[in-house]
Subunit: 441 residues, 2 copies
């Protein structure tokens, strides 16, 4: 029985997912990120120390455990990969080289109510850079470039990474004379959900804003640009503050570096806030063109205070691709396809059961040269064996004989072949993954 | 803080693990197994329906859940990949093509007391074939060949797969006149732990055996051979039974197919039983030469009754590599190494901070040709930047200039180079994984 919020793909979709993960991993490694996995569980106090998702934690309990025993650590499943990574860095600081660049591709779990594109179990693909004491800002500019390269390597609609900087917002609110900047940020973050009128009312009610201050906050949130022109737009609002200046300078660097790398990839969007508490500067969200209504499929930011140990601090910046969320949306819209249902390129037909050893030798010869091969399950009539291949999308059927022949069952072409030298066309060696555009074109 | 039983590797070990997983996956796909993942959780009644590990299940509970609410399904983390796979097959039978071949590489969890090489969270890599109604026996002969190929593709000591068949044991016990064959099997399974004298005593006490019957059971358990000679050895014990004959015929097929494929890979070992209840015929265990005392690192068998839905039955056969267990043992004995700590092949040195954009362009040109590249974190003195590379094992440092040069920091050789055409030696492109033998040789 399916369990709501715990998606399971059939093998063709899993082949697409693996392809996507391989491309993402390849891009991460091109940038020198080293692989890491952390355990699925964390002590409950680690999970509860940061951020708003703490309420969604799944706790673990052993079936045979004495419910009154107090000796066991209270463990929960991790709800993201950033909190466990920060814990790992502090724990292993003596064994790591800083700045430490890692990627991490793992399942995470949240006990929330499921809805479209929201899961209780899902796969995330994260990159982060952390350093001791201070982390140079240029790493904030690198994150969108890596993600841009990763998405461009996939048959997906173009991605737009929306960037903001908490220092811009906080500095602007302070410059306006507003003190409770967290409350202002939380309220402005609801803009897309509740609209400007309700945001204005709540800013006045809960953050002590005047009507003019609330209007200025909305003016800031309305600013967006694909180039550095957002700086002038903010200046025109006439607010002066050092933190604002610092934030604008940082945000400009991110936008300009992305503009040099891939025009259109990054957009300064001053309404982006990100809910989680631990971000201290740059924040990222990502939308796919044509799928904007589904929200962000890749998010992250700078966190200067997440990891610390005594007086030591490990500031970091990172970004996370919501792989299950992304694929769930695209599968739901039939936007990704695969050319066959199995990895198999060649089915070796079995003329008689007593020829299985010979067929196994043929399959072995093909496999030894990297050609994915199965032998037919039974010595059924050849028509039935060909249908076995057809139903799975296996392109070639091999007929043992003197000489052997191999048939492309799509074209019907059948040629003599030797298992020690025959090569399938390069495009047929492994299943081909395609987006809807490719399929149409 | 480390949590007992939940291992975490540092990035160099994770690189080795990824290499091992890539090779295993490649072998599985060469044999046409399609990828599958199932959710991490199953309803508790699915987990408890089979096998002896039920006592070790981790149950889930939402932190904010009303402990008295009865509306939620009781969920637990899966403790293996076979039980979830059987559930998946029954649930999705209408969408699958049979015989269905799949591989599945995922974490599993068991709440048992940790000890060396035993974990509470660990990675398994499984292959299985299931069919409707009946599954041809030749799939039982294929499993060891796939595993043999997978292990041979890795820098590991040779693997020996020990095979037995429950029909041999059950038929033999019946032929002897013993009725409670399950109890006999369970008792003989303790042979390596408690020795022949105690097994004899327990057979007499708990399974109603005479001294002569118990002795015959021990004689059977003592038989082992790398060829078909085990059949004669069993015959010489003078027991007659149809099920015994069937089992001997099956076991002989497995041993002979493996002998043709790779002599020495498979060994008939008539004391092998496997604890789990669901096996009905062939059973496999695997030891690495030199690590026999650590027990099986790859096990499985035939299960004719695990998956069923009403009158429909889905018999299967499968085998599972205990990846974490295998790597934990080898890491513990420093038996696997990697040539560097990061995927990075080239570090682009940064002469001045204002040259970062130019260095990023060089890095981009190298990455576009698949060369893993990082840019130095700061414009420190070149000596410090070279030490940054050395500490991570990055083999090349690139110096922007007119012209650019690239230095192999192992040999000190420095040559002029163009980022649009320079190629590292093939052996340096990605980290090289090696076993101890390779390192010594």
């Amino acid at each position: 029985m399916p369990i709501s919020g715990f998606p399971e793909w059939l093998p063709p979709q899993r082949m697409i997912e693996q392809y996507v993960l391989d491309r993402i991993r390849n891009t991460f490694e091109l940038y020198g990120f080293a692989p890491l996995e952390t355990r699925a569980v964390e002590p409950l106090d680690t999970l509860l120390s940061k951020g708003e998702t703490s309420k969604e934690v799944y706790l673990l309990r052993r079936l045979q455990e004495d419910p009154n025993a107090a000796d066991d650590l209270s463990l929960g499943l991790h709800f993201d990969l950033t909190v466990p990574f920060a814990r790992f860095v502090v724990e292993n600081a003596g064994k790591l080289n800083f700045p430490f660049r890692r990627y991490q591709i793992q399942k995470v779990w949240r006990g929330e109510r499921p809805q479209e594109g929201r899961y209780r179990e899902f796969l995330q693909a994260d990159i982060d850079v952390v350093d001791r004491d201070t982390l140079p800002f240029h790493y904030d500019t690198e994150m969108p470039l890596v993600i841009g390269d990763a998405f461009r390597s996939l048959p997906l609609p173009p991605a737009v990474i929306q960037v903001n900087n908490r220092k811009v917002c906080e500095g602007f609110y302070r410059g306006l004379g507003l003190e409770d900047t967290d409350q202002v940020l939380r309220t402005v973050d609801k803009l897309d959900k509740i609209g400007p009128d309700k945001v204005t009312a709540q800013l006045v009610e809960t953050a002590g804003a005047t009507a003019a201050q609330a209007a200025a906050c909305l003016d800031l949130a309305a600013i967006a640009a694909e180039d550095g022109s957002f700086v002038d737009s903010v200046r025109k609002l006439g607010v002066e503050n050092d933190l604002l200046d610092e934030g604008l300078g940082e945000l400009l660097q991110v936008v300009e570096a992305a503009g040099r790398h891939s025009p259109g990839l990054v957009r300064a969007e001053l309404k982006i806030a990100r809910g989680l508490d631990y971000y201290t500067g740059t924040v990222y969200e990502t939308q796919l063109r044509g799928y904007e209504r589904f929200g962000s499929i890749c998010s992250g930011g700078r966190y200067d205070n997440l990891a610390s140990s005594g007086a030591e601090r490990f500031p970091g910046v990172g970004i996370s691709i919501g792989v299950s969320r992304l694929l769930g949306l695209l599968f739901g819209h039939d936007a990704l396809g695969v050319s066959r249902k199995v990895p198999t390129c060649v089915l070796v037909a079995l003329p008689q059961e007593d020829q299985r050893a010979e067929c196994d030798r043929i399959a072995g010869a093909l496999r030894s040269r990297g050609i994915n091969t199965e032998v037919a399950p039974t010595a059924a009539k050849f028509g039935k064996q060909i249908r076995f291949a057809e139903r799975r999308g296996i392109p070639f059927v091999w007929f043992p004989g003197e000489p052997d022949t191999v048939k492309d069952i799509r074209s019907g072409e059948q040629i003599e072949a030797d298992a020690s030298s025959w090569e399938p066309p390069a495009a047929d060696r492994v299943p081909v993954i395609s987006g809807v555009e490719d399929q149409a074109g």
